[in-house]
C-alpha cells in the first residue's frame, strides 16, 4: 500500500485537472474594485467601477480613487475592457456595492444578477442599490476622488441598525425574484450641486426582473413594516401642547390567508410594533398614552395601506406576504402559489396594528 502512496497526489492533480490549479497573482499590482455600476447603453451595457480611496506605501498615503468605465455589448466584455484601461490588474472579488441604473432596471436586471451569480470573482454578496433619476455611472462618479464606497458602506451599516433604508444584497434580491417573482431594493439618487452625494429615495420594486415602480414616503415606511424592519424616522404627534416624538424599535408583521373553499378570500395582517418614547415636553399620563397609542396605530396602519395599495396595483408581493402566510397552510398555498400575484392584487386586506409603547 505504501508503495502506491506517491500516486495519490498525482491522482489528485489528474482528478482536479492539472491545468486548473489556481493561478498566482501578486496583490501589489492589483486595483481592488469596491463599487460597480451598470447602466443600459447604446452599445449594450455601460459598466463603471470604482476602487474607492486607495493607500500607497507603508504610511498609507492616500491616492485618489480609480474610476474605470467601459461600454460593451455584454457585461463580461465590458469587464474585460476595463482590464485594459488600468495599469494594474483589475480585481472584481471585492465589489461589495452594486448600483443599477433606472433604465437598466426598467429593461431588466436578470442578465446582471445572472452574471454576478456565475462569475468566479464577483458574487451575490454585494449590496444592491437602484439609482433613481440618474445613471449608475453618474452615481459611481459622484463621490469624486474619494469615491462612493464610504458613503454606501455607511448607508448599509445604518440600514442594518435601523437608521436608514433597509439594505438588500444582490443575492437576496435575486432569490426573491426567482422564488416570488418580486423584490425590493433601496433607491438612491445623486443630490447636491458641487459636492454631490448619494441620498436615499425610498425603494424600487422589481417584478419579473423589471422595475415595477418606486415607493417613497409613507409607502416606503409601510414596506419596511411589511418586511418586519423598524422605520428609520421619528413619529411625532402633538398631544395638546405636549409634542411627543417616538421611534419604532421593533416590528413583527404576521400575514395570514383566509380561505373559502379552495379559494382565498382575504389577507389579514397583524402588525405588532414596539415603540419607544424618545422626547416629550411633559410626562405622559395614562390617558395621554392611550391617545398616543391610537395615533401611532393609525399612522402605522396608514403606512401599511399606502404600501399595500401600491404593491397590489403592481401585483408585486415583494415582502413575501403570500409565502409567509402560506407556511401555515402549505397544501392550500401550493395550489394558489403560481397564481398568487393575481390573487394578491385583488384580495381585500384586513390590517390590525398593535403598538407596545415603552
Amino acid at each position: 500500500m505504501k508503495k502506491y502512496i506517491g500516486l495519490v497526489p498525482v491522482l489528485c492533480l489528474l482528478l482536479c485537472g492539472c491545468d486548473r490549479l489556481p493561478a498566482a497573482r501578486e496583490m501589489g499590482d492589483m486595483a481592488l474594485l469596491r463599487t460597480m455600476g451598470v447602466d443600459q447603453a447604446e452599445a449594450g451595457v455601460a459598466v463603471t467601477g470604482s476602487t474607492g480611496p486607495r493607500a500607497k506605501g507603508l504610511q498609507g498615503e492616500e491616492e485618489a480613487s480609480l474610476v474605470l468605465a467601459a461600454d460593451h455589448t455584454s457585461l463580461s466584455g465590458a469587464c474585460l475592457a476595463m482590464q485594459g484601461l488600468s495599469d494594474s490588474y483589475v480585481f472584481f472579488g471585492y465589489v461589495d456595492q452594486l448600483l443599477l441604473g433606472e433604465e437598466l432596471a426598467a429593461e431588466g436586471v436578470r442578465p446582471v444578477l445572472d452574471y454576478f451569480a456565475r462569475d468566479v470573482e464577483l458574487g451575490l454578496g454585494a449590496q444592491l442599490w437602484l439609482i433613481r433619476g440618474a445613471s449608475a455611472r453618474e452615481a459611481v462618479s459622484s463621490g469624486g476622488e474619494k469615491g462612493t464606497d464610504a458613503r454606501l458602506s455607511t448607508l448599509q451599516t445604518d440600514g442594518e441598525m435601523g437608521m436608514a433604508n433597509l439594505p438588500r444584497t444582490a443575492g437576496e434580491v435575486y432569490t426573491d425574484l426567482l422564488e416570488r417573482g418580486a423584490a425590493f431594493a433601496p433607491a438612491l439618487t445623486p443630490a447636491g450641486e458641487e459636492d454631490t452625494s448619494l441620498t436615499e429615495r425610498g425603494y424600487g420594486v422589481l417584478r419579473d426582473f423589471q422595475l415595477a415602480g418606486w415607493l417613497e414616503g409613507e409607502a416606503a415606511r409601510g414596506l419596511e413594516l411589511l418586511a418586519g424592519s423598524p422605520s428609520p424616522d421619528m413619529l411625532t404627534h402633538p398631544l395638546g401642547e405636549n409634542q411627543v416624538s417616538a421611534r419604532i424599535t421593533g416590528v413583527h408583521t404576521r400575514p395570514s390567508l383566509e380561505f373559502q373553499g379552495e379559494e382565498p378570500v382575504g389577507l389579514s395582517l397583524k402588525c405588532r410594533a414596539a415603540v419607544r418614547l424618545e422626547e416629550y415636553q411633559a410626562p405622559l399620563g395614562a390617558r395621554e398614552r392611550e391617545q398616543l397609542r391610537d395615533l401611532l396605530e393609525g399612522q402605522l396602519r396608514a403606512r401599511l395601506e399606502a404600501a399595500l395599495t401600491q404593491l397590489q396595483s403592481w401585483r408585486a408581493d415583494c415582502a413575501g406576504l403570500g409565502a409567509r402566510a402560506g407556511m401555515a397552510r402549505p397544501a392550500r398555498w401550493q395550489e394558489i402559489q403560481d397564481s398568487w400575484p393575481e390573487w394578491f392584487s385583488r384580495l381585500p386586506v384586513d390590517i390590525t396594528v398593535q403598538v407596545d409603547l415603552t
Binding site: K2, I5, P9, E26, M27, G28, A55, G60
Partner: protein, 502 residues
C-alpha cells in the same frame, strides 16, 4: 588481505570483551599505556612474607575510601599477619576490608570493567584470583533546577548525568518495591549503563520486553548524545516528529511511570525517556497537573492551537495573498496592497526568505555564548523587523505572519516537536506556493497520513485521537479533567491495571 565486504560488514560483539584467565600480569597488559592505571604493592601488617598488590584507576576510585577502607586495614590488621596463609583470601572477602561488597573474581574481563567503574582489585602474592572492592568516586554534578522545564509550582530537582543518582531520585518518589530497574550496557567503547525503569503490575510487559530487546540490539561505539538512544530505539529516521517523550524532571518521569509507561535512563544524559511516545505527550507540560484543571485545559487548547498556527500561518498567508485574495477581508486587503506596492519581491519569495532569516537568527542566538547570543538576536530582530520593512525588502504583513508562526512555535513544550513543526512549516509554505489552498490542503492530508503511519513500540502515534489500540482511553487528551475524575491510566500505554484511584 581483508575483503572490502569484510571491512564494511558488521563487527561482531565480542563476549567476553577481554578473554582469558585473571592474573596481575594480564591486568597490567590490559591497561598498558594507561597513565591513570595505578598499582601498589604492600605487606599485610608489615609481614614481608605476605604481600598484596592493590590495582585501581586514578580518578575513578576515591582516594579516601581506598586509603581508609582498604589500605589501612591491610596495613594495620594484625589478624592478616597471624592467620594461616591459605585463609587470607577468605578473611579479606569476609570482612577484613571495610566495604559493602567484596567479590572474588577469576576472569580478566569483569575485573577490568570493575576497575573502570571505580573498584580496586587486590592480588595476594602467589595467587591469580583477585578480590574486587568497590571504592568508586561519586564526583558528579549536584542536583539542580530543571532549566528546560522550569516549575513555578512543583518540585525543583532535575535529573543529572549519573544514572544511579537518577534512579535514586525516582525511587524516592515511587517507594513501591514493585519499581523495577533493569540495567543494560550499551556502547562498545563507552559501556554506558542504560536502565529500564517501570512499575511491575502497571507497565505493559510487552513494551518492557520490546524496549529491552531494542537496547540489546544497539551495537554502537558510544552513547554520547540523546540521539544515540532515540534513533536506535525507534524507527524514527523517516520522521521529523519525536517518538520518545523525554523530561528533565523526576516528578514528571514518575508520573509517566504511574501512567503505565516504561522509563529509560542513560548514564551521562541528564534526561529520562518515557515510552511509548504518543503525540499528546509532546503537548503536555510538567505543570499541567499543578495548575487548576480549567487553566491547564485552556493552556492545553492554546498549545494545540499554536501548533496549527505555527504550521499553517505562513502557507495560509501565501495561499490567500497570492491565490485567493477574495478570502481576505477588504480593509486588510487594501492595507496589504498598499504595503506590497513598493516591495520588489514576490510574496512567496518574501515568506520563504523571512522564514529562513528567522531560522538563521535563532540558530545564531543559540550557538553563541549567552550575552553575545542575546545581542545577535536583538540586532537580527531589529534588522529583519524594522530595517527590512522600511527598506521595502519585505512587507509588514509578511513579517507579522512569520513572527506569529515563529512565536507560536515556542509554545511547544517539546523542542523536538517544535523542530518537526518548523520543518513541516517550510514544506507547507512551498506547497501553498505551488497550489494555494489546494496545495496546503494536500500538505495537511499528507501530514495526517504521515502521523497516522508512525508508531512507538507498537503504539500508534495518533492513538490518543484514534481507536488504534482498541483500548478505551478514559479521559480526553485535548484538555485535562479534574484529577478526581481522571480515574483511568492512559489507554494508549496498554497498562495492566487501568484504574489509578478509587
Amino acid at each position: 588481505m581483508v575483503s572490502k565486504r569484510g571491512q564494511d560488514g558488521p563487527h561482531p560483539r565480542r563476549e567476553p570483551r577481554i578473554p582469558g584467565e585473571l592474573s596481575l600480569k594480564g591486568l597490567e597488559e590490559v591497561f598498558r599505556d594507561c597513565a591513570d592505571f595505578n598499582k601498589r604493592h604492600m605487606f599485610l601488617h608489615g609481614d614481608r612474607d605476605r604481600g598484596v598488590t592493590v590495582c585501581y584507576i586514578d580518578g575513578m576510585a576515591r582516594t579516601e575510601r581506598l586509603n581508609d577502607y582498604v589500605l589501612k586495614p591491610l596495613a594495620q590488621n594484625p589478624v592478616l599477619a597471624s592467620a594461616p596463609r591459605e585463609e587470607l583470601f577468605s578473611l579479606l572477602e569476609q570482612g577484613a576490608v571495610y566495604a559493602q561488597q567484596a567479590t572474588r573474581e577469576t576472569r580478566l574481563d569483569p575485573v577490568a570493567l570493575a576497575l573502570v567503574n571505580g573498584s580496586c582489585a587486590l592480588f595476594l602474592d602467589g595467587r591469580d584470583d583477585a578480590l574486587v572492592v568497590p571504592v568508586a568516586t561519586e564526583e558528579k554534578r549536584s542536583i539542580g533546577q530543571p532549566e528546560n522545564e522550569p516549575a513555578l509550582k512543583g518540585a525543583q530537582d532535575s535529573f543529572v548525568e549519573s544514572v544511579r543518582t537518577n534512579t535514586s531520585l525516582v525511587r524516592r518518589r515511587l517507594r513501591a518495591p514493585e519499581l523495577r530497574v533493569r540495567e543494560q550496557i550499551v556502547g562498545r567503547q563507552s559501556l554506558t549503563p542504560v536502565d529500564v525503569v517501570y512499575l511491575e503490575g502497571i507497565a505493559d510487559p510487552e513494551t518492557v520486553e520490546r524496549v529491552e530487546r531494542r537496547l540489546e540490539e544497539i551495537d554502537i561505539d558510544g552513547v554520547e548524545a540523546a540521539g544515540n538512544i532515540e534513533e536506535y530505539l525507534v524507527d524514527g529516521a523517516r520522521s521529523a516528529f519525536p517518538l520518545m517523550a523525554y523530561t528533565q524532571r523526576p516528578d514528571r518521569f514518575c508520573q509517566g511511570l504511574l501512567e503505565g509507561r516504561v522509563g529509560l535512563l542513560a548514564d551521562g544524559i541528564p534526561l529520562g525517556w518515557l515510552l511509548p511516545g504518543t503525540i499528546d505527550q509532546f503537548f503536555k507540560t510538567g505543570q499541567d497537573r499543578a495548575y487548576h484543571w480549567m487553566v491547564a485545559s485552556a493552556l492545553s487548547l492554546v498549545r494545540y492551537f499554536c501548533a496549527l498556527v505555527t504550521l499553517l500561518v505562513p502557507g495560509l498567508y501565501i495561499a490567500l495573498v497570492t491565490f485567493h485574495p477574495e478570502a481576505i477581508p477588504p480593509k486588510l486587503a487594501l492595507s496589504i496592497v498598499a504595503a506590497k506596492q513598493e516591495v520588489p519581491f514576490s510574496t512567496i519569495f518574501e515568506v520563504l526568505v523571512m522564514l529562513l532569516a528567522f531560522e538563521v537568527i535563532q540558530e545564531a542566538g543559540l550557538r553563541l555564548p549567552g550575552p553575545i547570543g542575546a545581542t545577535v538576536s536583538i540586532l537580527g530582530g531589529l534588522v529583519v523587523g524594522n530595517a527590512a520593512v522600511e527598506a521595502h525588502i519585505v512587507s509588514p504583513a509578511v513579517l507579522i505572519a512569520v513572527a506569529i508562526a515563529g512565536v507560536a512555535g515556542y509554545t511547544m513544550p517539546s523542542q523536538d516537536l517544535g523542530n518537526a513543526l518548523r520543518l513541516w512549516r517550510f514544506l507547507f509554505a512551498i506547497l501553498a506556493s505551488l497550489g494555494g489552498l489546494f496545495g496546503l490542503a494536500l500538505g495537511c492530508a499528507g501530514l495526517i497520513y504521515h502521523l497516522a503511519g508512525l508508531d512507538s513500540f507498537g503504539t500508534p502515534y495518533l492513538a490518543p485521537f484514534t481507536t488504534g489500540t482498541k483500548v478505551h482511553r478514559g479521559h480526553p487528551s485535548l484538555f485535562r479533567l479534574p484529577l478526581p475524575a481522571m480515574k483511568w491510566r492512559d489507554g494508549a500505554a496498554r497498562t495492566q491495571n487501568r484504574r489509578n484511584q478509587r
